[in-house]
Structures are given as structure tokens and as C-alpha cells.
Amino acid sequence: MSDSTYSEAPSASACPACDVTPMARRLAASGALDDLPERGALMLSLPGVHCALCITTVERALEAHPGVNSARVNLTLRRATVEAAPDVTAEALIETVNGVGYEAHELDPSALSATVTDRQGRELLMRLAVAGFAAMNVMLLSVAVWSGAADATRDLFHWISAAIAIPAIAFSGQPFFRNAWAALKHGRLNMDVPITLAILLALGTSLYETAHSGEHAYFDAAISLTFFLLAGRYLDHRTRAIARSAAEELAALEVARADLLTEAGEETVDVSTLAPGDRIRVRAGGRMPVDGVIAEGTSELDRSLLTGETLPVFAEPGRVVSAGEVNLTGPLVVEVTAAGKDSSLHRMADLVAMAETTRNRYTSLADKAAGLYAPGVHILSLVAGLGWYVYTGDARLAINIAAAVLIITCPCALGLAVPAVTTAASGRLFKKGMLIKSGTALERLAEIDTVVFDKTGTLTLGAPELEAAETHAPADLSLAAGLAQASSHPLSKALREAAEQAGIAPALVESLVEVPGYGTEGLWQGRRVRLGRASWVGAEAGVQTSAWLAVDGGEPIAFRFADRMRPGAEEAVAGLRDAGLSVALISGDAAPAVHAFAARLGIEDVMAEALPEEKAARVAALSAEGRHVLMIGDGLNDTAALAAAHASISPATALDAARVASDIVLLGEDIGAVPAAVTTARSAVTRIKENFTIATVYNFIAVPIAIAGWATPLAAALAMSASSITVSLNSLRLK
């Protein structure tokens, strides 16, 4: 599609009328699809697409699917939008895409609000284009004036410049005017006030000068100031929009649905429609969508996201469950006690919101600089204007000089340099799999001196691994793997993998059954064999995660499991320590497991069996000592600590509440890039400070010239462009 649109672009503008029909057709065919999923449109996330062939393969496969009207892959967002008949389900489409060899997940279109951000971005881009167009034309005319055009020619050029610049600024400058007005209405000063004042004063005096055949007009300065500042705004917007759309995608991946049991049977409904008293079915492997009480079925629950415990908990009717727990083995029927806003997940989110307000008080470098800049510039320009008026009694000259001072102190370093640095840094970190969510995250990350890790799900993958596999007799492992085949429990999977790695074939076990919540049993060489919980096979339960194997009449054999270490965990801890940071581990898991794990990574500062409040309290205590803490965690039990810390990181597998509470989300499985994030953040802050220094030096040279009344429009244009370009180039030196 695009290859034809680009080649047709010139013809479209040369003869708009001839293009109306093909344009409309093209819009109908594709444009509307990219924009917003219409009713009935399905969205799929395709993390694996990366090439031209992928696009065609996926689109062709989807379009061949019965009932599909059209499918379009967006490679930038790694998404596919499918318009299909109402009876086509996302599951069927996912299967189709998997069939041609690509991974696909369903996205909840209601969680993606990309269109709103998109409209703002588009608006800014249009204003930027208009300002750029006007600035180039006015600059051309100005060059003629600077090179000696005089009298009538100069006046004509000034009038043409005015005719271009005034409407262009009236359109492009609106974001600044609106912000400035909003600030003034509340009796405050922000960056946009001096910007607006400089632009309006420059336009006003230039118009007056032009009308009186004056020598100096600042139309070029006013419009290029608007252009540079809009460029900064647009960069800033892009960075935020990318981060927001990636964060929204993570949220949209969790399609909030539940299987409601009604008298008519089972019905898939939206979680938000559930009410206390409803009964829902939670399949093995599913996550509890609500708080409730188990009504039917037995199973095991993985509570690690809530508490950090790795040991699965036995679940039977009557047991209270919280939203966020994962059902491991058998199907459960749960009676809803609290849903939506009342559930424990949401109560935790309120806690986070409270902690966030303290962090929002953090003043960014740009805000600090703006706080000094805005009043300073106003006073300076006022003093210069008054001084000249008292000295010469010439109001026209005094106002001209005041305007020149405002223009020459152009806040380009503030408006352009900070967004340029953060854009470069965010882009770099995004390539390493890190998503910056908060605007001040980089600055806060640069200040940290202590790193606190959570264990389960953060430094580990939350998936068990058989410990000391080589010490088990091959026959035992073979039998255990044979029994494990009947179950999709994480421990069973780990046993099968361990056997496969050791090259041991699973033993043949007959009449295999899984007893949800307990284990699996079967017949092996005529004897009854069981694999499962300690109490079920007649053994003494220990503190470590274990599965027990019992052959009828024999002594039970324990298979102990340790949580699998996340790739890059060792590098992350070593790298952070090399960067001069102290590293601590706080976990909600049992002490022996935590200490053994800490020893593997060489972490000395360890706290085990910590409750969520204790985690937050420990982080708060460290902060009270004057330390700046970086918290890295994934569970609901970490959420309060993540929000209380100076900066926070969570993996993409974390609970939604934890991701919301953190500044940076790790998109990949590897955690090894964390030290690089700290380095990049420090380097970014250095660059921002350098840019401020450069801008200050410019002003120290240029402001006296302006106050002395020697500033010509040429000098103003040179000073402004030179400072803008220097700070932008300096931003690109980011490590």
C-alpha cells in the first residue's frame, strides 16, 4: 500500500480534485483500520514480526481465515488489526498466526487509547510544519535585508515577512499561548509566559517598526523561536507517546474476562461486570480475577505475586482467595466476595496512589531551571526597557530593547535540550528492552546509591528448577518424569525437563490420574506409585519446595526445587556493585530459600519473610537515612515499596499494579541491562546540566549586547540558532 502512496504524493497536491476518488478508496481500504479498531475489530500483539516477509505471511494467513474481512500488520507497533465477522474469535486467529510460525497474543482494544495521544501528536506536528515553513520563508527575506536591502525594498520584505509570520504564529504558537494563559489565570509563572511575551512583544514592535519604515524587524526571530520550541515539545510528546503505548500494550495483554457460571451454563463475561455472590470457574493455569471463596474443587495456588512465597498453597472449598493468585492444577469454582474497585488488588493500588504523591513532589531539573529563568528574564527585560526610557526618554527604543532582551534570552536550552536528551536516552534504553514511563525517572535513577531487589519473579523467573538433579538415581527420575506427564503443574514440568536434560526417558506408567491439589498417581510394573505433596504420599513436609515420589510400600523420595534464576541476574548484581551501589535483597519467601539464593549472588544485606508493609518500611527507613533507593520488584507485595522508593523498576511479567507503580518496565526476560540503565541515566543528567551551562554562557555574552542596544535581528537570529543547535548536538553525545 505505502509504496504506491509515496509515489503519488506530488500528484495529489498538484491536482487535488483528481485524487479524491483514489484517496477515498485507499482510506476505506486501510486508513480507517490503522487509526482505531472499529466495532468488531480484533487486535493481536505480534512480538515476533520483523521483516517484509513476516508482514505478508501474517496478513495472507489472516485474510485467508474464514470470516476475516481485512487484516493489516503494523510493524512499528508489532500489532495486527483484523476486521472480521462477529463470530470470529481471537483464539482462532491466534491459532492461525501460530500456524504460520508467529507468536500472537490478544490485545484488549479498550485498554489502548492510542488515538487520543495520536491526535495531540498530529496537531503538534502540523504546527511544527507550519512554523518551519514560515521560518524558512521569513529567513530568506531576512537574509536579503541583512545583506543590504534598503528603503522601499526593505519595507516590502518586512511587510511580506509580517504577512507570513503573523498568521503562522497565530496557528503554531497556540500551545504556548494556552499554557501561558492557564498559568496566569492561576497567578503563576511558567516557561510559557516569557515565551509568549517574547513572541508577542517581538511581533508588536516589529509591526510598529515596519509601519514606520524602521530598520529592525524581528519577525524571523519570533517565528524561529516558535519553531525550535515546538520541535522540543514534539520530541517530548513522542517519547511519552511511545512509552505510553508500550505500557498500554502490557495492560491490554491481560484481557480481563472470567467464566461466569449461570443457570443456563457457562458464559464468558467482562470482569468489571462481576458482582459479589457470582460464581466463576477458574481453570488450571488461570489467574484469579477477583477476591472470593472457593466453592468447589481442590487445587494448588501460586501466591508468589502477592506474597513472594514460592511454595504453592493447598486450596480446598472454604479457602479465601485473593485476586492475582494463580490456580495451578485443578479447575476451581470461586464465589465472588469482592470485585473491581473493592478487591484487594485495587486497595493496594490506592496505597500506591498515596505513595506516588510524595514522589510527584520531585522537581525536575527543567522545572528548577524554569523557576529561576522565568522571573529572571522578565525582570531583566523590564529593567533594560525602563533604564533606556529614563536615559533617553525614547519609549520606542526602550520597548525595542526590552523585546530584544526577551528574544535573545531564548529558552531554547530549556525547551529543546532537555527533551532532546531524554528522547535520546529513552530510545537507547528502549532498544535494551527498558521502557521509561515517568518523565523524571532518568533524573531520579541517576541519583540512586542503593538498590533493593525482590527475589521471586524479579531475580528469579518464578519457575522452579530441580535442585541437584545428578544426585537422584536415574530410575527414580525416570519414574518421577513418567508420573509428571499427567500434570501441567510447574513442578511436574521442571521434573520432565530435568529428566530430558539428563537424557533419561520417562518410565511407562499406566492408568495415570492427576488428583488436583495433591499430585499424580498411577501403576508402574504392577505397583501403585504417587508423586505429589508430602502429606499425600506419607512424608514429613519440609520448608523447601519439594515433590515426593512414593512407590507402594517404599520410603518416599524427595525432589527438591529451587527457583530458576532470571537470565542476567548475576551480571546485574555485579554491574550495580561495580557502579558503586550497595545491593540488598528483601523477599517475602522463607528464610532458608532466600539466604541460599542471596549466597549464590553474593548479596549480604538480606531480609527474608518480609510482609508488604515491612518491605515498604525498610525502603522508607533507608530513605530516612538519606539514601536514594532503587527498588526492583514484581509482586503485589512489592507495590508499596516500589512506590515508596526514589526510583523503581519492574519486569513486564509483574502484576499490573506493580508495573503502574514503577518508573521503568523491563520488557524482556533478561535483567542484565539494569546497570546500563543507571549509566545512561547518569550520562543523561550530565548532558542536561552541560546544556544548561552552554545556554547560560550564551546568555552571559548575548544579554549585555542586547541591553547595550547593539543587538540587531541578525545577532538575535545567530545567537538563538547557534545555542539551539549546540545543545541539540551535545544531547547526541549521550553514552
Binding site: 505505502s2 509515496y6 481500504a29 495472507r60 512499528t76 506536528l125 520563508n137
Partner: protein, 52 residues
């Protein structure tokens, strides 16, 4: 200098054309998928006749 009477309007008109063309590309969603567009040009699947 009389030539300016032609040159200035012409230059403004040409620049304006560029601006209008840019507006058109933004309005028709041509910057929604820059990565995809750069790859699609390599695809030999043409859509001269879009699906009705």
C-alpha cells in the same frame, strides 16, 4: 528588481505546495507505521486492486 514580483509569490506558492502535501500525508495516516512502510516496499505483493 521587478522580477521579485514574480519570484516571491512563486517561492511562497512552491513552499505552500510542500506544506499542503505534508498535511495530506499526516492526515492519511502515512506516519503510523514507518518501519512497516520501509519493509513493505520490498514486498512483491501489490494491491492495485484492493479487496472490495
Amino acid at each position: 528588481m521587478e522580477v521579485l514580483v514574480f519570484l516571491i509569490p512563486i517561492s511562497l506558492f512552491l513552499g505552500g505546495l510542500g506544506l499542503v502535501a505534508f498535511f495530506w500525508t499526516v492526515k492519511t495516516d502515512q506516519y503510523d507505521d514507518p518501519d512497516g512502510d520501509s519493509h513493505r516496499i520490498l514486498s512483491d505483493e501489490f494491491d492495485d486492486h484492493p479487496k472490495e
